[in-house]
Symmetry: C2
Subunit: 318 residues, 2 copies
Amino acid sequence: MKAVMFIRKSINISEVDKPARNKGEALIKIKYAGICNTDLEILKGYMSYTGVLGHEFAGVVVESDDRGLIGKRVVGEINLGCGKCLWCLSGNKRHCSNRTVLGILNKSGAMAEYLTLPDENLFVIPDAVSDQQAVFTEPIAAAFEILEQVHIKPDERVLLLGDGKLGQLIARVLNAAGINVLVVGKNENKLMLLESQQIHNILMDKFELCQFPVVIEATGSAGGFDLAMQCTEPKGTLVLKSTIAADTGMNFAPIVINEIKVIGSRCGPFAPALRALKDNRIQVEDLITNIFPVTESLKAFEAAQKPGSLKVLIDFGN
Amino acid sequence: MKAVMFIRKSINISEVDKPARNKGEALIKIKYAGICNTDLEILKGYMSYTGVLGHEFAGVVVESDDRGLIGKRVVGEINLGCGKCLWCLSGNKRHCSNRTVLGILNKSGAMAEYLTLPDENLFVIPDAVSDQQAVFTEPIAAAFEILEQVHIKPDERVLLLGDGKLGQLIARVLNAAGINVLVVGKNENKLMLLESQQIHNILMDKFELCQFPVVIEATGSAGGFDLAMQCTEPKGTLVLKSTIAADTGMNFAPIVINEIKVIGSRCGPFAPALRALKDNRIQVEDLITNIFPVTESLKAFEAAQKPGSLKVLIDFGN
């Protein structure tokens, strides 16, 4: 089968064996995979990952011990737990210390014609949600994680730095929850997409630095943290969403002086993400910049790295 | 009057005018001042401060509009607020954006024969507390700030990195609150002082890296944050106490991946600190390494910078 691999510091489309599923796992035929900023960071060395890339997908179950799953369209939680530790036993595999992570840590990713995942990681895509929409489930879940971690009050002022792929979804998740969010971005076209969703936004060049009780950093760039820190009120909360391969040189004194609470935020819950898509509370179609067939995956990655780009999908033709 | 000044990147003992008090302020004759790590960081450029150093003191009120204060032994909250902003009006001057800070930010410090502070910043030292003990009120208050910010449960495992001046006080404050704290330090003599307080401790060289739900970073060194991050459980809390003048180069990805909550912690409440000293719940005398007369303040600073040193006091002979 065809697979998009990152090996010896370069991407290529390889012919590899179809994966064999273990007991409790499903074999999934991939329809679409999405390119995430984490994939782009992996190309720069993040997590030292090599192998099949990708963790955002929508597919169809072709084999499973659970007959009810066969033929179903699914998305999948990307963290695979040991099943034995306190994290796994309490239902949160995302922090299992022995976990593997789809296309990120010791687990072959989703940019391939076939993929295996434990049945228990799968979520059936509701009929009202298209395959292309469903690819957004994983990053929407990551946006919902913020609401799992921080109690944002109905009348709280929230600043979101970043108008990119994840920033767009975070803005939409917060907006759908009725939260008063202001997005600061660098790209006028991306801000226009937010404007059409009735989400407050401002161009970075026009933003006069001021402080908010809650700031979310989703710039995907090393300098984002420092700006976010400056924009956080004393005793305020700064949610850190960007994972960056590079080290950042900065002074932590403002965290101490202003007694800021910095909360790291990674993967989130799939169920509310799928519900939001099903109920049409979150729009995602306008975020798709390009769709490339798997044979043109290298072009897909080139497109995803362009500054004006948002979500790029790879179509496996299934 | 004599004052210990930091001017043009060096410390010297100068003869300066006695400060004139404004309405609502007290004139305080200093008995002892303490050297804090923040003072040592100021010598490296922290806060770009120049002027009379020092913010830890015990003294006697010699002038005040409030006759009841005259002759009283006092310590003082080091943050001076504008009195008009929401922070000040709600009783917390420590985050007033127009504040000055004793010996740290636009306010002449405590290492001088006389000092002015607003009456409302003063706390009368209880009879049971000696002048030398009272100098520790400010850093003990900073230790109590952790308990203001973080709910540490009775059976929670807490790791404290740092056996220095502030680390010792944090360990003692937590221990006095019945919290199960393990201190990791680099200095055997300093750990022995904790041992004699029945506080669990271990030498850094013997500490095998493991994770705790609550980690407090009080190493006062740039590398402390990185180690603290490694020692914090997923979804755990890392309290950052060190203020460092230098920039630190590091990778923030572990904060995001492990969804750690980093909480900056600075100044704290004086009242519980004085109560703890009065009730003898916290011992501090063993932390005094040296006491120098004001005329030997330069030696005092030399002594405070030695690795084995803990609290160095300057005696103003009053």
